[in-house]
């Protein structure tokens, strides 16, 4: 019995002491904080006074200087005093420490991931009638896309360097882009060299995190296997006119579909872009580009006449024309509140060469390794509109359509099917961006890129950008 009473008594004595202690500590902290605040504010004031004093000293010196000279001639002195006071006034402070210069180089990291609900029964995804890259892997469920690490900085007063490395979720690092460009040629000229996304068309230079939809459009999938990358050099020139006019050329050994690197030099693109404003609320850009690519053993695939998958290899050349058009509207030119963006692109392709259909008789197929003439003349494009109806919220719709045109397998006609089918897709999305650096998206696509299949696809996607404030291209 005694013990609890003792304990209680001890506690009763200790409690006020403890709380008094805590109170004293809090008071002390508050005092310290106040003192620090006062100190800080005085320091800034003293600094301000010092700068003013310094400025005054300089002005005084200048005045003395000019006064001395005044003896020599009143007129001359007057003009000198004028220029002296004008010149002494501005005190240039050193470049303010900005985020960008603190982090040299600028670093940014893009985190992307999605939940996809796809039809699991579809094997060997491709685009009917099109020789397209054979890696259309798509998987249902939760996945993280490539994480992009971007570094860029001025090399020296003459060059700027840029690296975009994609970290594959399954391991490995891919170099999406690695190039340098000139910054001091002037007269509107710029040269870029290394590996870079070609300036053809509109969407080609955008990395997936900048797309307005969770999935790529059919045109870019069919025409470039995502985006056309060039290993080589680019020259471009901006005309000194009110209307924006840009012309350029790229040479190299094209790094992606429809070219193959193995053919070496000889792939090139020519591009032009135009643009301007219509009043204060509307702006536009349009362009026309040409891509010539050489392919050696370019791999694609399709189901043969026995409906068994067959790998195909194309040797030949690919000529492509790409037209693009973009219109943007924002009331008073202020896209913070509301804006509408319309994009349309179209491509025409002409391919000539030989196609080899790899022997798949072992799997029950009919291809026997015949290498025969292949020609095709195809086209396709997309239209899309994105509307930000209130801050942070956007809705979008995209219509994709490809025209399989004419294609001819030569002797392989006996093994490979020729359809008359136009692949299409309809996509709607809604996205929410809490800030410029984060975006959450919901998307539905009705995909009819393969004959006899209409697939419903659902996506939930996130895009997070960390680090340097990258400027968004138009």
């Amino acid at each position: 019995m005694l013990r609890p009473t003792l304990m209680a008594a001890a506690l009763a004595v200790a409690m006020p002491a403890l709380s008094a202690n805590a109170r004293a500590d809090a008071e002390l902290d508050a005092l310290r904080a106040e003192l620090k605040q006062m100190k800080d504010s005085y320091e800034t004031r003293i600094q301000a006074l010092e700068t003013r004093l310094h400025a005054a000293e300089i002005q005084a010196n200048q005045a003395v200087h000019t006064a001395d000279k005044a003896v020599q001639g009143a007129d001359q002195a007057e003009s000198q005093a004028k220029s002296a006071s004008a010149q002494a006034a501005p005190l240039e402070s050193p470049a303010p420490a900005s985020l960008l210069s603190q982090f040299n180089p600028e670093i940014s990291l893009i985190l992307q991931g999605q939940y996809a609900n796809l039809d699991g029964d579809i094997e060997n995804r491709n685009i009917t009638g099109f020789l397209s890259p054979s890696d259309f892997e798509a998987s249902s469920g939760f996945s993280i896309a490539e994480t992009e690490l971007v570094l860029s900085a001025s090399v020296d007063p003459y060059f700027r360097g840029y690296l975009n490395a994609a970290i594959d979720p399954d391991g490995g690092v891919g170099v999406e882009e690695a190039w340098f460009e000139t910054t001091s040629l002037g007269e509107g000229f710029k040269i870029k060299a290394g590996r870079f996304l070609s300036a053809l068309g509109y969407q080609n230079t955008q990395h997936p995190h900048a797309w307005d939809f969770a999935t790529n459009n059919l045109m870019y999938d069919a025409a470039f296997g995502g985006a056309y990358t060039q290993n080589g050099a680019q020259v471009k020139w901006v005309a000194p006119t009110d209307l924006f006019m840009e012309f350029g050329a790229e040479f190299g050994n094209g790094d992606s579909f429809p070219s193959t690197t193995s053919t070496g030099l000889g792939d090139y693109t020519l591009f032009s872009h135009f643009g301007g404003d219509v009043g204060v609320s509307n702006s536009w850009t349009a362009g026309l580009s040409y891509l010539y690519g050489k392919a050696q053993d370019r791999e694609s695939g399709m189901a043969d006449l026995n409906d068994v998958w067959a790998d195909t290899y194309f040797n030949g050349n690919s000529k492509n024309w790409i037209a693009n058009f973009v219109w943007k509207w924002a009331p008073q030119g202020n896209p913070t509140e509301r804006y509408f963006k319309f994009v349309a692109e179209y491509f025409w392709r002409d391919e000539q060469g030989n196609l080899l259909c790899a022997d798949n008789t072992a799997e029950g197929g009919v291809c026997n390794g015949t290498d025969s003439a292949y020609t095709s003349r195809q086209s396709g494009g997309y239209l899309q509109g994105v509307y930000q109806f209130m801050p942070h919220w956007r809705v979008g719709y995209r219509y994709d359509r490809l025209n399989d045109g004419n294609y001819n397998f030569g002797a392989n006609d006996a093994y490979l099917p020729v359809y008359d089918y136009a692949p299409t897709a309809n996509t709607v999305m809604v996205d929410y961006s809490p800030s410029e650096f984060s975006r959450l998206r919901l998307q539905y696509t009705q995909n009819k890129s393969m004959i006899d299949i209409s697939e419903n696809q659902f996506f939930v996607q996130y895009i997070m950008s960390l680090g340097a404030h990258g400027a968004q291209k138009y």
Binding site: S93, P96, T183, G186, G276, V280, A330, A471
Partner: protein, 299 residues
């Protein structure tokens, strides 16, 4: 003989043609107006944005690249205000003269003392500017500081007109100093007047006139307030009342009007920059109207 004389006359006029107005690309209307004051007919000014646009969020439109391509001088605020669009314009234009570090690139913040340097630079704190608050043009004394430096820079870029720039600057500066004195006298009743701001747009104005900023509607710079946060601000204003809620022309009225309604004080739109309200076609008008608007609140 006649043709030779003609050629000679033409050759003699060539340098004059080459010295026809230099092109100034001004990022914001206030700097465009300042360049016009100092440069007169010797400069051709293109202003990239209007008072109706948020200078933090401008699209790098093709028309802007085309203008930057021909600019001899790019005149911007700096302190990362234009970080989302200006670097892209500079790079895409292929104009070597206006790259950072070149005389053709002028950053106004370098000539004034910036307020509100953040202790912590972290995106969780919103759209913070590491160098400090960039909206320096709301204090007319900053306009004078920038003007002095700009006059010098124009003379450096276009030496042929150096005398003209100095003369025009001197004239402007005298009129400006007189106006600042006048505004300060007018503003005497504003001292200590408590106000609420939507974004930290008027820090320099408040500092200059000795107003008292009792609350900001944005919980963090560039982050829109939620209704819950606005209710907190409204509660705070019950104990520390303010005379008005201030916002710039381009800012969305929703938040400040909601609050103004709730606590029964006026929501006031200040011009913020040249062209932000009727009568603000030049820098003098900007401050005449700003002062008049503030005095209306004080009454």
């Amino acid at each position: 003989m006649k043709s030779i004389r003609l050629v000679l006359t033409l050759l003699a006029t060539l340098p004059a043609l080459a010295h026809a107005a230099i092109s100034v690309f001004a990022c914001e209307p206030e700097w465009g107006a300042l360049a016009r004051e100092i440069g007169g007919d010797a400069v051709k000014v293109y202003t990239a944005t209007t008072a109706m646009q948020d200078p933090h969020r401008i699209e790098a439109r093709p028309s802007l690249i085309a203008q930057m391509r021909r600019a001899n001088l790019v005149l911007c605020t700096g302190a990362e205000l234009e970080v989302g669009w200006l670097p892209l314009l500079q790079r895409e234009s292929g104009n070597a003269d206006v790259q950072p570090g070149r005389p053709g690139y002028f950053e106004a913040v370098r000539y004034v003392t910036l307020l509100e340097k953040p202790a912590r630079v972290d995106r969780s704190q919103g759209d913070v500017h590491a160098a400090g608050n960039p909206h320096i043009q709301t204090d007319p004394r900053n306009i004078a500081r920038v003007g002095a430096a700009l006059a010098q820079r124009l003379a450096e870029i276009d030496p042929a007109n150096a005398a003209l720039y100095q003369a025009r600057w001197k004239d402007f500066s005298a009129r400006w100093d007189a106006a600042v004195t006048r505004w300060q006298a007018q503003a005497a009743p504003l001292k200590g007047m408590p106000v609420v701001v939507q974004h930290k747009s008027f820090t320099y104005l408040i500092n200059w006139l000795g107003l008292r900023e009792v609350a900001t509607l944005e919980p963090k710079p560039g982050i829109e307030p939620s209704v819950g946060y606005l209710a907190e601000v409204a509660a705070h204003l019950k104990t520390t009342p303010a005379k008005a809620v201030l916002r710039a022309t381009y800012q969305n009225p929703r938040a400040s009007e909601w609050l103004a309604d709730r606590v029964d004080i006026p929501a006031v739109v200040l011009p913020f920059t040249v062209g932000g309200a009727p009568g603000t076609d030049d820098l003098f008008g900007l401050f005449d109207v700003t002062l008049a608007d503030l005095l209306k609140i004080a009454r």
